[in-house]
Structure formats: C-alpha cells, structure tokens
C-alpha cells in the first residue's frame, strides 16, 4: 500500500462525460423542476437509463468494475470510488434529479446486502431491462425515525398459503411512488419494507421484505412537500394485510437471539453513508464554484498564501469553505476506498457522513450570506442548493446518529453503553 491521491483514469474520464450531462440535462432545467414539485424529468431519466444500460452497469448506479483488458495486469477494485464520484457529479448537476436516477437505489442495496443468490437474480435483473425501473426502502415510520427499534410494522406468516401478511405505516420513502405505482414508461419496481416477525425480540426480530409494485393492500397515501430536493418524491405508504410470497423475505425466517436481522440494514448503511456524503458534497461544490465565479466577476480575488489576519472576511470564508469541502471529500474517498478493498469501514463511513453533513450546510449557508440579495434571489440556483444541501445531515442517519456511531467505534461502546 501507499499514500496516493491520483484519480484513477477511468474515474477522471467518466467525470468529464457526466459533467456534460449535468450541465446540459440538469442545470438547464433545475429551476423548473424545483418549482414544479414532483414533476418527473423524463428526458434525464430516459437518457440515464439508456446510457447506464449501454455501459453494461447492471442497471442503475451500482458498484461495477470495468472489464480488464485482455492480458492487462489486474487492477485494484475501484467500484465504490467510481460510484461516489458519479454521485458527486450528478448531485453537482442537481441532487433532486440524481435521486430520480433510475435503478434499484436503497431498495436494491438491501437485496444486495441481505438477499440470497436466488433473490438477487429474481429481484435485481429488472433494472437492466427495456424500461427505467425503480426500487425504494421503507424503514421510517411516523413513530420510528432514528430509533429504528421502535418500528411497529408487523409481518405474520400465513402458514396455509405460505405468505407473509404485512401491516404497517411507512413514511418518507424516497422514490416510493415511482417504485410502487404503475407508470407506462417505467418498468415494474418494488419496495423493501422493514417489519418485525417477532416484536418480543426487538431488533433481532426485524426483517426486510420485498413487496412488488401493485401488491394489493399497499397504497401510496401521500407525497411530501419539501424544503428542497423537490424533483424527488418522498412517499407515505400504508400496508393493510398486504400479502407477499414467503421467499420475498430477505434473511432468515427464524429469530435467534444471538444474531440480529438488523445486521443487513447496518451493512447497507456502511456502504451507503459515504455515498450520501458524496451527494451532499456535490451540492456544496456547486455552491462554492458559483460563489467564486461571482466574486471573480465582481473583481474580488482570493489571495491564497496570505496570513489569516491579513485576509478580508470574504477571503477567509472562501478559504475555510475550500478546506471544509476538500477535507470532507477526502474522508469520503477514504471510506469508499476501504469498501473497495474490503476493509471494515463503519467508522470512516460515519465520519464521512458527519463531516459532510456539517460542511455542506455550512458552505451553502455561508455562500448565500456572502452573495447577499443575489444569494437570496431565485434568479440563481444558490438558494436552491442551500435548501437541497440540508437533507445531507438528515437522511441515512442524522448528524447526531452518525456521531453516536463514530463515538461508539472510538470508545468501544455498544449501543446500550452509549445511547
């Protein structure tokens, strides 16, 4: 091993291509889709689907390794690094759009983390078919957000029909509508629903179930109106005696006190937290670049190299923002590099999310402040990025929850020793 910071060539090339997409298909219509909440950016969705299919990525934005050239030396894996870079760039374009990139998203991630080979084959191939297809993950409930052990949704096995009968109320499901409801232009998706098969067992009784789109008894009851990321639908989903086949359960049907069904969810988070961080940092980079461009237009130079106490307040702010952005990005890179190299990264993964949650909110808030009325005006996208950025510190574990994870890791504490 060594210490190196050279972007791998395939990533650098892909970034250039994605930047063109971001500029031409996202930025140009970003404002429209912010003002028309829940409208679907079809052009972007179809373009991305076609492009990803052509790239043979297995559908959607997933961890993929390019095929090594005949006779070429085997290269170290960079799949997660590539994915983080893709997400950063797409979010630089428009994070709301990025969230409607077709593919399995968090739903598929749960299948990858906890599903059997047969389940993977059954549920994941659809993302590479003719029509763009979505999947979503339903963990959160009205009474259970950060505290996932409070989940009330229940799954009971009907032994006669060998089906699971699920009842529950899920909220804040990203892409829940596109995954569950029928759209002519979309393929048939699914949602992954977390429910308990044994409420007396606490977390050990928690399981994930694949619920196919259109399953009777399941309804999208609401689409949230949000501060930002308005192109992304955030759905409430109710399940009333919803029946799913036995084999749609991800993981074991029996509850053992020693193992927790929850491990699957947690493994998913180790993998996805740096990606959420990457997404937020894309927004922050957009804001910082815009700020520097506007300052330059107005004749404000940033004098790098000057001692702090000789700088103007704007220079100081911009320099701080650059430090925050770059150092947070390096944490993301390290976390995904560890994932690529199969090193346990729970600590780094949560650190990257903590840091990104902090800096993207600070950077976008400061940028609006420095731009004054221009920052506050809807003439520019800066005020939108401020609204979009805030979600980074909330979903996939709030800043506080990720601090808990980091603290437990460094202190060697369990969840009960540090709540």
């Amino acid at each position: 091993m060594t210490i190196e910071f050279e972007a791998p060539k395939p990533i650098a090339q892909m970034q250039m291509m994605l930047q063109t997409v971001a500029e031409n298909m996202m930025r140009s219509v970003s404002r429209d889709f912010d003002e028309n909440e829940h409208a679907i950016p079809w052009d972007y969705v179809e373009f991305m689907h076609t492009a990803m299919k052509a790239a043979g990525g297995g559908g959607g934005l997933t961890v993929t390794e390019g095929k090594p050239k005949e006779g070429a030396e085997k290269r170290p894996p960079i799949g997660y690094q590539r994915l983080a870079a893709q997400i950063e760039m797409l979010s630089w374009g428009d994070v709301g759009f990025y969230l409607v990139t077709p593919g399995g998203g968090l739903g598929a991630a749960a299948v990858v983390a906890a599903g059997s080979p047969e389940q993977k084959a059954k549920f994941l191939t659809r993302f590479n078919e003719e029509k763009p297809t979505f999947a979503a993950m339903c963990m959160t409930e009205p009474g259970a957000g950060s505290d996932t052990s409070a989940i009330r949704a229940r799954a009971v096995l009907d032994e006669k029909s060998n089906e699971w009968v699920i009842n529950g109320e899920k909220i804040f499901v990203t892409a829940g509508d596109k995954s569950f409801n029928e759209y002519e232009k979309f393929g048939k998706g699914f949602i992954v629903v977390w429910a308990s098969i044994d409420p007396s067992a606490g977390r050990a009784g928690m399981r994930a179930f694949v619920v196919e789109a259109g399953t009777p008894g399941v309804k999208v009851t609401k689409l949230e109106h949000k501060l930002g990321i308005r192109a992304s639908d955030t759905a409430s989903i109710s399940l009333v005696d919803a029946r799913v086949p036995f084999e749609n359960l991800l993981g074991k049907p029996t509850v053992e006190k020693t193992t927790t069904g929850f491990k699957g969810a947690m493994a998913t988070f180790d993998a996805t937290r740096p990606l959420v961080a990457a997404s937020g940092l894309g927004v922050a980079r957009a804001a910082l670049e815009f700020l520097k461009e506007k300052l330059m237009e107005n004749g404000v130079q940033i004098r790098y190299g000057m001692p702090r106490n000789k700088l103007t307040s704007i220079e100081k702010d911009v320099i701080d923002m650059e430090i925050q952005l770059r150092s947070a990005w390096l944490l993301v890179l390290k976390a995904v590099w560890m994932a690529d190299n199969k090193k346990p990264n729970a600590l780094e993964s949560s650190m990257s999310k903590v840091r990104a949650g902090d800096v993207v909110t600070k950077i976008t808030q400061k940028a609006v402040e420095i731009m004054g009325p221009l920052g506050y005006s809807r003439e520019f996208l800066l005020e939108k990025w401020f609204r979009d950025a805030k979600i980074t510190d909330i979903y996939e574990g709030t800043g506080q929850i990720n601090r808990l994870v980091v603290a437990r890791q460094i202190l060697g504490y369990s969840g009960s020793e540090l709540r």
């Binding site: 000057m306 150092s327 944490l331 560890m338 840091r355 603290a407």
Partner: protein, 364 residues
C-alpha cells in the same frame, strides 16, 4: 490511484518514531516545560532515529530520498509525544532541508554531509518576525545587494537554538521576494538576544536575533546567484506545521478519550454522556479529515503538482483551526482537572494555539 495507507517502510519509521515519542518525549515533556530545558541525551536519541538522514541522498551523506509524505507521517508521530521535544530533535532540518530543496550544489556539498553524518548539532533558521501581521512573503528584514554580496538588516524572533547555532538560514526580503541567506555564527553584526518567554514551547530554547548590517558573500544566498523558489520551502514548512498540529491534536484526543472512559459522573462514565461522546466524535473526525488534506498536500509536493503550494496553504490553515478546536476540547473533557498542570492537556492547548504564528519551526 487513490490509496490511503503508508507503505511498509513508512510504517516501520512511524512505529519507531511513535515509540520514541510515547516513551521518551512524552515522559520528559512535563518537567522539560517546567524547567525550560530539554536533556541533550533525549534530543540525541531522537536524532538517531535518522529522519533527516533518511531523507538525504547518499551523495550528501544520507541514505534515502526526501519525501514530504514520509516527512509528514514522521512529524505527526514525533509531535504526538511532545511538540517542544519534537521541534528540538528536528531543528537541524530547518537548515539542511532548504539547502536540499533549493541550495546550490556547492552549498549541499559544504553543509549536508557534515550535518547528516554527525551528532545532533544546532543548525537552525530564522523566519518569524515579532509583529502581529507577520507574513513570510512580506518580511521586514531586508537583504540588499552590496558589493559582491548582501547586507542583511532587521530582527528575527523565535529562532530555535540560536545561541549555540553553528550557522543559520536567515530569511529576508530581497526586492519584495523572500530569500534565504546562510549566516555563520560569528558573522559581524549578528547578535543573539535573550531567550523568549512564550505561552507554550518553553522547553525549546528560542531567541530573538538581530541583524545589523550583516554581510554575507553572494555564494551564501540559498541557491547561489540565481536564488531559489521560496514557495517550495514555505510549503514544506506548512506541511510540517500541519503534521505537527495533527500530532498535538491526536495527543489531546487520545488523552481525553481515555480519561473520559475512566472518569465517572452521575453514575456513568462521562464518555457515556452524549455531550462528551459527541465532542470526541467531532474531534476524531476533524483530525482525520485534516490529516487527509495534509497528506494530499504532501503528495502534491512530492509529485510537483501545479497547485501544491495552494494545497499546502489550505492544509496548514485548516490544521491551525483543527488544533485549536481539538486541544480546547481536550481540556474541556477533563473539566477542572484539565486546567491543572499535572495533566498534559493544558500544555497541548497552549501548544495547539501556537501554530498560526509558529510557521517556520518545522519542515519536511
């Protein structure tokens, strides 16, 4: 490729330095600070680890190549033990490394084998000036062409081991550009002032240095007649300072973390309280992110990237804030006990405040 792990050689060096830092430097730190004195034997032992020797090519008496990344790793390990002790051990680098980076062939031949091959000896450098807006790129100390040499005028501050120094590099303003000049100890017009009394770093002998029309031959300009790129020297100093800041911060973090796992209040360990646990989580996150920023800057210096100087500046600037944030919390986590000089966290905090003004006391 991206890669975030020291290679085997670097890891071995880090282990050796880390051991010395923890066992020798840390053990001596409290008494050294209070008595304002570092035992020479202690410094000698650190010198024998061979940091400078390993980054000097064989042609000049060493046995390796300079690498800012390796230097950054070593400086952090060393500073983890004690900042004053670490800076003392590495003081000869302040003289040798700029010569390696920007010196003429003659200068390298003349000085490096001697320094690198011998026992630890006080060769040093004078950069800092005693003004609130000290700026290494706008020095008040001047160099003027006089005859076939230069005349130096001005005053320098915080010069380590100036009293005993065999020779020092004095940085001065030559027509608006900072340049280094090699000044031997017996130069006429050079006078060494009283020892500085500072908030921290009391174990390190620092002195004011006056230059009253000190004349040096043209060959003593760093790099000879054409001079040198001071930006590279400054960047190497910034990366070193950032690394030292990381070492001090890590020391404070580790100490307060261990304390928090022992100390009880309200029936639980204080680390079990979120208010304390979250401080620790933020400290470690801040340290790790600035560490990566520093490594990247060092790597950019090693690979001659166009923006390496800006990267070094950003890493240094971030590290200054990081060190203050972390060492302040270290004291806070120990509460009243943190304020007592029996625990090292207050010294970490005093040292942690110094980085913005102590640029020029370390180099990689």
């Amino acid at each position: 490729m991206y890669s975030f792990e020291p290679n085997e050689e670097q890891q071995m060096l880090m282990d050796a330095v880390g051991k010395y830092a923890a066992n020798d430097l840390r053990a001596a730190a409290h008494d050294a600070e209070e008595s304002r004195e570092l035992p020479r034997k202690l410094i000698g032992k650190g010198w024998e680890l061979g940091l400078l020797q390993a980054s000097t090519p064989e042609a000049y008496g060493g046995f390796g190549e300079r690498s800012a990344v390796t230097g950054a790793l070593a400086v952090e390990e060393m500073a983890f033990g004690d900042l004053a002790g670490a800076l003392a051990v590495m003081t000869p680098s302040l003289f040798a490394t700029p010569i390696l980076l920007g010196g003429s062939e003659e200068q390298r031949q003349e000085y490096l084998p001697n320094i690198v091959g011998g026992e630890w000896a006080p060769y040093t450098a004078a950069l800092i000036e005693y003004t609130f807006d000290f700026d290494p790129n706008a020095l008040r100390t001047t160099a003027k062409v006089e005859g076939d040499g230069y005349a130096l005028n001005g005053e320098k501050a915080f010069v380590p081991f100036a009293k005993d120094a065999e020779a020092m590099i004095v940085y001065a303003n030559l027509n608006g550009v900072t340049q280094g000049f090699i000044v031997p100890k017996d130069a006429a017009g050079l006078s060494i002032g009283e020892r500085e009394k500072l908030m921290g770093l009391n174990a390190l002998p620092l002195h004011r240095v006056k230059l009253d029309n000190v004349k040096v031959p043209a060959t003593n300009r760093l790099g000879g007649a054409p001079g040198h790129d001071f930006g590279l020297v400054l960047s190497a100093m910034r990366v070193a300072s950032a690394s030292a800041a990381l070492g001090v911060a890590k020391a404070s973090f580790e100490y307060s973390k261990n304390y928090a796992k022992e100390r009880e209040a309200f029936g639980v360990k204080i680390a079990q309280k979120q208010a304390v646990a979250f401080m620790l989580a933020e400290m470690v996150t801040e340290i790790e992110s600035i560490r990566l920023l520093t490594w990247e800057a060092a790597w950019k210096l090693d690979t001659n990237k166009e923006d390496s100087c800006v990267a070094a500046y950003l890493a240094f600037t971030g590290a200054c804030d990081m060190a203050m944030m972390v060492t302040d919390r270290g004291v806070q986590i120990l509460g009243g006990h943190g304020y007592i000089r029996e625990h090292p966290v207050e010294l970490f905090m005093r040292n942690g405040r110094g980085f913005p003004m102590l640029l020029g006391l370390a180099i990689v």
